[in-house]
């Protein structure tokens, strides 16, 4: 299994030393935070943002969609659902507008249907470029609706998670989305339908504590940060040094919380295979 070998420091520690966030696939930055190798943008494009040391750069939702869905197969659903500022939270409107321009999307999640190597599914991809994939009422609403749609149309759901957690600026309303999405996932499950989650860097907070951990099968990308409380908060609260690789996909695998770590070059085939294995009608073409 492709475990990321942490060459210098665990990523969380890298972040602590003043690194704001891991560089993003597609950005001009080219130094791998794991092995410090310099990479050209072209190389990264060819490898879908994977360094030769195995480090997986973050991917925006749009790049992820191009990477994962068959060409022209994506049909966007609920794309018009937007966040409002229900609590009139200071500075939130500006943050939303900025997130829209940075990500080119309208919300922290992209929802729709597509085929992945010919297998039809409902798909959601969270967007780290939109307020770090934080979950507000609109994010939760889109995911809930996608599950309802999938339940109504007997479709499996494939979901890529990336999130800093519930969105502070919508207060309790963000929190309620944890229950709303969980309820929709449960109904989808009760109908005997398949839900596959792919945890990508970072999946934390209220998203980990709801639909990210509710998949029938949960796979993760190598090196992805996966946890509930933030690593820095844990360190400050416990005043203990964090173990190496704390809250990584590798550690989650060792503790039994993810089914497998799948590197990006094998991801698409793995998803196709799992979808095919869960197909309800018999088909010899697996």
């Amino acid at each position: 299994m492709p475990r990321l070998k942490f060459l210098f420091k665990p990523q969380n520690e890298l972040e602590k030393r003043g690194r704001k966030a891991a560089p993003l696939y597609g950005e001009p930055e080219k130094t791998c935070p794991n092995c410090h190798r310099t990479l050209t943008v072209k190389t990264l494009e060819e490898t879908y943002g994977v360094c030769s040391c195995g480090y997986h750069f973050r991917m925006g939702a749009k790049e992820r969609l191009d990477f994962i869905a068959d060409k022209d197969s994506f049909y966007e659903l609920f794309g018009d659902i937007r966040s409002t500022d229900p609590l009139s939270f200071p500075g939130y409107q500006e943050k939303l507008r900025k997130a829209e321009s940075v990500s080119g999307g309208k919300e922290a999640v992209l929802t729709g249907t597509c085929t992945i190597k010919g297998e039809k599914c409902a798909l959601f991809i969270m967007d780290s470029l939109f307020m770090m994939g934080s979950m507000g009422a609109a994010t939760g609403e889109k995911i809930t609706r996608l599950f309802e749609y999938a339940t109504g149309n007997n479709l499996p759901v494939v979901g890529f998670t990336v999130s800093g957690g519930a969105r502070m600026q919508e207060g309790m309303l963000s929190l309620m989305q944890m229950a709303a999405t969980s309820g929709a996932v449960k109904r989808h499950s009760n109908k005997g339908l398949f839900y596959l989650t792919v945890l990508t860097d970072p999946t934390t907070g209220g998203v980990t504590a709801s639909f990210a951990m509710e998949g029938d099968i949960i796979i993760a990308e190598p090196g992805a940060t996966i946890g509930f409380a933030g690593a820095r908060v844990v360190e400050q609260t416990t005043r203990q040094p964090l173990p190496k690789g704390f809250q990584t996909a590798e550690s989650m695998l060792d503790h039994g919380f993810v089914d497998a770590i799948v590197s990006r070059d094998e991801e698409k085939e793995m998803i196709r295979l799992l979808l095919a294995m869960h197909r309800r009608e018999e088909n010899e073409r697996i």
Binding site: M168, L175, R187, V233
Partner: protein, 261 residues
């Protein structure tokens, strides 16, 4: 009174703790322990009790009164085992069609290396997933702090009541201020912005009732609350399509507080 004043009252060590409510309202009461997986988390005080002839499963987060008890109960911050114990007992309740009352009072789920490694996020997710489909009435009462995922893990319910001076929030005001403004000193502003009081919850539709704190912790207070709980559970027990209504309850916020553009 400012929102932050209410936060301070909600956190006050002099308030009754979860187990005080359970012991005062249910009689007799049998405490039940353990998640049948790994451990018994003392932050969760739970069991089955009688309320005016009705058997009820009661689950409370308990912060503890003195230093020794607080250490034992780690200040009411449940570990994954606490949530798993709660879920085990809630499923047992559903099996016997027994209603459930939860008393929520936590600054949040336990924040620690072990808790993370034993799946804090997974434990909360599992609770939400199951509670949204648990075929028995669930009433959640926020008696102090309703801290984020650690609180909703016991509050995915048919009704949410909040004590007058309880709060319900996605993050602590201090945490919010330090993330947004890099200054935990602006917690009072954050508390205002987060709209975390019982009155805010009522107007957002997140809570159905505000419980008066007149005589808080006294016999009359518990009698009044006990009667109110009994009446609500009686009503919920004859409710039709309970699960659909619970689903719609949580489903409604996404509809109400988003727009199409």
């Amino acid at each position: 009174m400012s929102a932050y004043d209410i936060v301070r009252i909600a956190r006050s060590g002099s308030r009754p703790t979860g187990s005080d409510y359970v012991k005062s309202i249910f009689s007799p009461f049998v405490e039940l322990h353990g998640d049948r997986r790994y451990a018994d988390d003392a932050a969760i005080f739970a069991g089955i009790g009688m309320l005016d002839g009705m058997a009820v499963t009661a689950i409370a987060i308990d912060k503890g009164h003195d230093t020794e008890e607080r250490t034992k109960r780690h200040f009411g911050a449940p570990e994954p085992e606490g949530y798993r114990k709660a879920l085990r007992l809630m499923k047992e309740a559903a099996k016997f069609h027994r209603p459930i009352v939860t008393f929520v009072d936590t600054s949040g789920a336990y924040c620690g290396i072990d808790a993370e490694e034993r799946g804090q996020g997974e434990a909360i997710a599992e609770n939400l997933w199951e509670m949204m489909d648990l075929d028995t009435p669930i009433l959640a009462i926020l008696i102090g702090e309703g801290g984020s995922g650690g609180a909703i893990a016991l509050a995915a319910s048919d009704r949410v009541w909040m004590l007058e001076n309880s709060v319900y929030s996605v993050i602590s005001p201090e945490g919010c201020a330090s993330i947004l403004w890099k200054d935990a000193g602006k917690a009072a502003e954050a508390a205002e912005g987060l709209k975390l009081t019982a009155h805010d919850a009522l107007s957002l539709g997140i809570a159905e009732e505000i419980i008066s704190e007149d005589g808080l912790g006294g016999k009359a207070f518990y009698n009044r609350l006990g009667e109110k709980i009994k009446a609500e559970l009686d009503a919920l027990c004859c409710e039709s399509e309970l699960l659909q209504k619970r689903y719609d309850r949580f489903r409604s916020f996404g509809r109400k507080y988003t727009e199409k553009r």
